[in-house]
């Protein structure tokens, strides 16, 4: 019997953002946790995340944004996925997601409103993200398209 297919996760830093270090650390941790990671690196347009996810039949896309412009870059991200036939794909976003004084609750609400399943506040540990993934994938196996809380 062939072993079960490892889940595939697309990672990258969106927009005109060159802050790659955190994304690399996340990628390494995900690989160590047994995921197949398609790492797109820095300066990645939203459409490239979606194209990569289609071709590799990815289960999740993890978007990093560190330079404060994420809100502009991520607008319509879920719609792009739906357009490409990836309706049920798990979407996370994390980093320094907004500029200025906005509470995390408000920021999180903004991104969840855009269709992301989870938003990771600055300082979120990779262990937390891996735990979320485990929970959300398990929840999807129960009933699709419902991220855990």
């Amino acid at each position: 019997m062939t072993p079960p297919r490892a889940r595939t996760i697309v990672t990258g830093v969106i927009g005109s953002d060159t802050h790659i270090v955190g994304n690399r650390i996340l990628t390494m941790a995900l690989e160590k946790a047994g995921y197949k990671v398609v790492s797109l690196g820095a300066l990645t347009p939203a459409a490239d995340f979606v194209r990569a996810a289609v071709e590799t039949r990815a289960d999740a896309i993890l978007v990093s944004s560190l330079y404060g412009q994420g809100e502009l870059d991520c607008r319509g991200f879920r719609d792009l996925c739906v357009e490409a036939g990836l309706e049920g794909i798990l979407l996370y976003v994390g980093g320094n997601l907004v500029v200025g004084k906005r509470s995390w609750e408000e920021t999180e609400r903004t991104y969840l409103g855009m269709g992301f399943d989870r938003a990771a506040a600055p300082g979120t540990r990779v262990e937390t993200v891996i735990e979320w993934l485990g929970r959300d994938f398990a929840a999807r196996e129960q009933g699709p398209r419902r991220a855990g809380t």
Partner: protein, 470 residues
């Protein structure tokens, strides 16, 4: 004397080159019409008679190797999943195999796509889609759609390996080769396995299907489509052989009657500090510009160049130029006779070389980030190639080949285009690139020395040209 005969079954002519393998020189050339539509042996016999006349008798040939672009060339349709990813990788593989790409398709084939593919009458279909372990659904949908269609041509599979067995089951006998994925991992291009599979199908089936093997008594084998022979010749010239240095990274440009082909042999990676974006490019890359032809596509070439700019370069009044263009487009065999025609031909060739090389080479772009400007590169950086080689009738027949080939160079007016900056300019005056590409399969050392010895150096540029490219 040890001799080899190199044959090009072209769409217009059957061309022969006889070479002395020991002395590394050309014994003679011969030419006959292309008679593939009736009986290919007629043109071949006429070409041999012509060669015999030029050489005063024919030597015994140790090798008789042929390439072919006759009967429409190797017509191919490629199919992938995402247009910028596996569909693009499949396209690159077909072009690298020397195919005439007649259609490219992406995502799920629908009824209209299938009807279009039938209309295109491909000789081979290359089916790709999905990385290994990635999307299997679309490539299997497309396999089933092709299987249910009236299409009879051989199909080569180079998609997601997890779906290969099911694709084979769906396609049955039509699937003649199942080869490595053109994109096994996301953004990893691996087109060599597909290229060799296509080449093998060409040798095993297409040569027969096109009636080229009727002349089998006159040759040992038809090895590849002619564009692939040119690419192989270029690769040999660039890389050299153990003990014989090649020319290093290079670019070949061939402005033809119907298309302008550009080949590059160079990694073309980004300079330090520059960030590459998009699909990695193949080191051995061929592009074909279907709208840049000196005769069949003179009208679209003129449109791409801009009518006014072209008229200025030719020194012709625009109205008069349009008349001549019309004649060129209909009388496709026409060789320039009058001074006006020579001037227009020169301007057309210059435009074809400039635009085709610009499209082949990559570009840079400055992206402004919060940490400052960053340079991003799309495509190949060919600014440091060591040689640019011109081939084909338009360049070889030109009275000013340097003025034409020089258009391949970096232009200060387009600073973001990564074209060659300071290469040697060489002319394939004896039309030997395809011949050496063929010969290298049997006698690589002789092929390399023959090619190196017969390229004409075009470095004696005129002063105003030197100023332009400085």
């Amino acid at each position: 004397m040890s001799a080899a005969l190199l044959i090009d079954f072209g769409s217009t002519y059957t061309k022969l080159r006889a070479v002395d393998l020991g002395k590394r020189r050309i014994i003679g050339s011969g030419q006959g019409p292309s008679t593939v539509t009736t009986d290919i042996t007629i043109g071949m016999k006429l070409a041999l008679a012509d060669l015999e006349r030029h050489c005063g008798g024919l030597p015994r040939f140790q090798h008789r190797l042929a390439s072919s672009s006759a009967a429409g060339g190797l017509r191919m349709v490629t199919i992938g999943l995402v247009r910028e990813l596996t569909a693009e990788a499949a396209r690159q593989a077909a072009l690298g195999a020397g195919a005439k790409l007649v259609g490219t398709f992406a995502y799920r084939l629908n009824a209209a796509d299938l009807a279009r593919i039938l209309e295109l009458r491909p000789d081979i279909v290359l089916l790709a889609g999905g990385t290994d372990g990635g999307n299997a659904e679309v490539v299997l949908h497309n396999a089933a759609a092709l299987a249910a269609s009236a299409l009879e041509c051989p199909i080569v599979y180079a998609g997601n390996r997890d779906a290969a067995d099911q694709a084979r089951a769906r396609l049955g006998a039509r699937l003649v080769a199942c080869t490595g994925n053109v994109m096994p991992e996301f953004n990893v291009l691996d087109i060599e396995p597909a290229r060799s599979a296509i080449r093998q199908v060409f040798i095993d089936r297409i040569v027969h299907a096109k009636g080229i093997d009727r002349a089998a008594a006159e040759f040992d084998s038809v090895l590849m489509p002619t564009p692939a022979a040119v690419l192989e010749g270029a690769r040999l010239l660039a890389d050299g052989l153990p003990g014989t240095r090649g020319l290093g990274d290079l670019l070949v440009v061939d402005p033809g009657g119907a298309t302008t082909d550009v080949h590059s042999i160079a990694a073309g990676g980004p300079a330090p500090g520059v960030i590459p974006q998009g699909l990695p490019e193949p080191r051995v890359k061929r592009t074909v510009e279907g709208d840049l032809g000196m005769r069949h596509n003179a009208a679209t070439l003129a449109a791409a160049a801009g009518l006014e700019a072209l008229a200025r370069d030719a020194g012709l009044e625009p109205g008069r130029m349009s008349e001549l263009l019309l004649q060129f487009g209909t009388d496709v065999e026409r060789l320039p006779a009058s001074a006006e025609e020579v001037a227009l031909d020169r301007a057309l060739a210059r435009a074809a070389v400039r635009i085709a090389v610009r499209r082949h080479c990559g570009t840079t772009e400055t992206v402004y980030t919060t940490t400052g400007p960053v340079t991003v590169q799309h495509g190949k950086d060919l600014s440091r190639v060591e040689a640019v080689i011109g081939t084909g009738g338009a360049l070889v027949g030109s009275t000013e080949p340097r003025a034409v080939l020089g258009m391949a160079l970096f232009d200060p007016a387009e600073p973001l285009s990564l074209r060659p900056r300071a290469p040697r300019l060489l002319l394939d005056r004896e039309y030997l690139l395809y011949a050496c590409g063929l010969l290298q399969a049997a006698e690589p050392q002789a092929a390399l020395e023959l090619a190196l010895g017969h390229l004409a150096v075009l470095d004696q540029e005129t002063d105003h040209e030197r100023a332009r490219h400085a």
